[in-house]
Symmetry: C2
Subunit: 472 residues, 2 copies
């Protein structure tokens, strides 16, 4: 007896006629009048279930098989045969069906064999991976994550996990969560009457990180090619379809590199991940294409959109030129494009979808709208920043060449009312063998929203935070 996953059984790699054992959960059960039950069994290894054909000659047919409902767990032992019906190529002629666990009160079991709304499933976070759509998203998330690690490893990058709890606010990138073990009601006080964080666990006020970039730069200055891939946090209103308070971020950083190298890396990166998912999770993409994919018909659906992306060559446009393009267009924008303002999603999507029609890298933004660590260009007005815009979503990656010149960094910090002495170690990197370097960051869940065609970023993370789900 050969224990196989549903995926292995369906792949045609198991010899037809051999005895196999499959373990999983019932997706559906259908009984023929001739006294045969057709049980679709899934184990999470792939989108399709395998059909087990259970004859009424089985000893437990009346007492157990006929009581199997969606979600019940079982072991099927039998012969792998070519399927007579349409759909799957293989099925199992069952010699034995071992029922492991039934479903209490099948009528109220939340995961009925029908299409549920995403809202409903979010409140069933512990059960939703059993649904076709979240099974697909879970496998795609895995394939994408592995493709990310593989892409970087093959190119000689080193994964660095930067601190989650930190005393630095990185770039003032967003509102932060405080991390503390002090008594919440009666915290110890300083003589001046403030909270005495000197008595807290870390002996100072500490937060959840908003970005690992500054920390990973130090590793870049030693290992040359590094990346983070870990959780980051923003305590901003996350009650939208586009924001998460807790999300995973990917931040590569390369030494001996300028903004053009950075754009090249971003293009190679996105294409490699999309290719991997297209190759490895075609079944799940096809399923999503048949459901959520209907929402993006203008782009030909999910698979067509990813394939077009992979085959495109990215356009590079200067921010200043992009503003001109927007101004010259006849498009009515909610926000009028203006040099010195950041691009809005409507501008980004117009550029990528209509004006240029493929992914665009907008480069060299006005310094006043960009972070202190971005490298000042020779024009004295713009910095070497970039955003990668994708058709159908807008900005998907943001990056920059970093300011590697200590005097320029200090000048920019002072201009932005930052205290250089608070950044001692970061400044050290510019004092000790400084090199040109660049990097970018992207949210993993935002990437999955694009890959899976999701309408709400909560569906890209295993456990969404919704009021209905008590323990998150």
């Amino acid at each position: 007896m050969h224990v196989v996953s549903v995926k292995e059984a369906l792949e045609g790699k198991v010899e037809v006629g051999s005895k196999v054992e499959v373990r999983g959960w019932v997706r559906t059960r259908r009984d023929s009048k001739a006294g045969i039950s057709f049980i679709h069994v899934t184990d999470g290894s792939c989108q399709a279930p395998i059909q087990a054909v259970a004859p009424n000659t089985l000893g437990n047919y009346q007492n157990e098989v006929l009581h199997l409902t969606t979600g019940a767990s079982l072991i099927v032992r039998g012969t792998l045969v070519q399927s007579q019906g349409k759909g799957q190529a293989f099925e199992i002629q069952a010699d034995e069906v071992v029922v492991l666990g039934l479903v209490d009160d099948p009528e109220t079991y939340p995961l009925q064999p029908k299409q549920h709304t995403a809202e409903f499933l979010r409140e069933q976070a512990h059960l939703r991976p059993r649904s076709n759509s979240f099974g697909a998203i879970t496998r795609i998330r895995h394939a994408a994550a592995m493709a990310i690690h593989r892409f970087f490893t093959e190119q000689g990058f080193v994964w660095v996990n930067t601190p989650i709890v930190t005393a630095s606010d990185a770039e003032g990138a967003g509102q932060m969560f405080r991390v503390s073990t002090l008594d919440a009601l009666k915290p110890p006080r300083t003589p001046e009457g403030g909270v005495d964080f000197g008595q807290d666990f870390f002996r100072k006020e500490a937060y959840l990180t908003v970005s690992g970039q500054l920390n990973v730069e130090a590793y870049c200055m030693a290992m040359s090619k590094v990346y983070t891939f870990g959780p980051t946090f923003r305590a901003e209103n996350s009650n939208t379809t586009r924001h998460l308070a807790e999300f995973w971020m990917i931040e590569p950083e390369i030494a001996f590199a300028n903004l053009s190298d950075d754009a090249e890396l971003a293009e190679a990166f996105l294409k490699a991940i999309f290719k991997a998912v297209l190759n490895e999770r075609r079944d799940d993409l096809a399923f999503l294409d048949s459901t959520v994919g209907k929402g993006i018909v203008t782009q030909g659906g999910l698979i067509a959109r990813l394939e077009a992306f992979v085959q495109s060559s990215f356009e590079r446009v200067d921010y200043t030129d992009a503003i001109e393009m927007l101004k010259k267009s006849k498009k009515k924008f909610e926000f009028a494009p203006e040099w010195g303002n950041d691009l809005q999603t409507e501008h980004e999507r117009f550029l990528a979808e209509e004006h240029i029609g493929r992914p665009v890298v907008v480069m060299n933004y006005p310094e006043q709208i960009k972070a202190f660590y971005m490298r000042m260009n020779d024009d004295g007005k713009t910095v070497a920043a970039m955003d990668v815009l994708a058709p159908g979503i807008g900005e998907i990656i943001g990056g920059s060449q970093r300011e590697e010149r200590l005097d320029m960094l200090d000048a920019r910090m002072r201009k932005m009312n930052l205290e250089p002495e608070h950044y001692g170690w970061y400044r050290d990197l510019r004092r000790y063998g400084s090199v040109p370097h660049a990097g970018f960051g992207l949210g993993f869940e935002r990437l999955l929203v694009y890959i899976c065609g999701l309408g709400n970023i909560r569906d890209a993370i295993p456990y969404p935070r919704v009021p209905g789900w008590a323990q998150f």
Copy 2:
């Protein structure tokens, strides 16, 4: 001109006589009386530096090359040749040395070309990856992390990132950090005078996770084979050489599995990771063997210890038998072994190192010392828990078969004064197609302590939290 990493240049895969460009940092510079400088250049891609031979005929020889000190950054262009000296097989005859960044005040540059203490380097967290030892640890950490993802992926596991911020305390596994955006000094109050966490970001009191296990069990009940690999937190005294407040944990969970399957998975897992590191980072292990490895000569050093581990077959011992072995031994223990008490590190090491002499899985512990979710054995006294003990460190993995029977789970919860109704979704998993399942957990940094032979777990994490390093 072919831009290559130091690793590529030294591997013998670049044609001898070809023009190459290497970019990196100076490890050392030595000048011959004949007017030639030998510069050892490192870029983090491997342990060994490459030697660049710079003749005094270079235009910038006097003004720049002779001012290169440890830590300065440069680009070397020249011809890859076979090395005349001992040590490396290849070196670069430089046509050009471009100095990118010198070192401010080389006398006080913290990373002098000598062996520093680990204590000193911890206070130079942003620079220590430039040292030989932390370069090695950083690369080994990467190789081990990738081997972990690869091991699971090849076996059909799916990576699940469970929530970092959570309202559940998992298993009462340890002291937790509170996560909040409330005013620390004057938090809002409830009518009863407590802190009104209903006004906090998550509308309830929230913490940093101590384990993803309970959450990942839900995914196990849908995908069959899953694992977490992410940060976890314990607000315990971490001022020891064995504890970290923030560390990365690996937690696989398998469905249709019992404790024996779990032990098998643990054995295959550890061997696969050690094999990968032995294959991929032999250079770094050899370096560490020549320094920290001296501390474990009784086990033949670092590489010998890992090789012995990989070649051993694990012994399985019942907890009750292990207690008997300890009692019968003539060894003087600080803590007398007694049925009903947990094993101490001295007991674990005696078993693995002296009594049995190879890795040991101790199985079936008394229920009173183990968590509520572990499966009750038929004897009514022990639960299906296991610890994997490794020679030289003691416990390295802890795991269990989970209680999949709802009535048994409820009974055990009540015995331990836990409220079943607080675990609604966890109990649901036992109501809807429950299956036998098992899993284990291990700390990634603890694994690295073992692989790298470290004396302090702070050296296994990229950014140690030490008072000397202001921003963690």
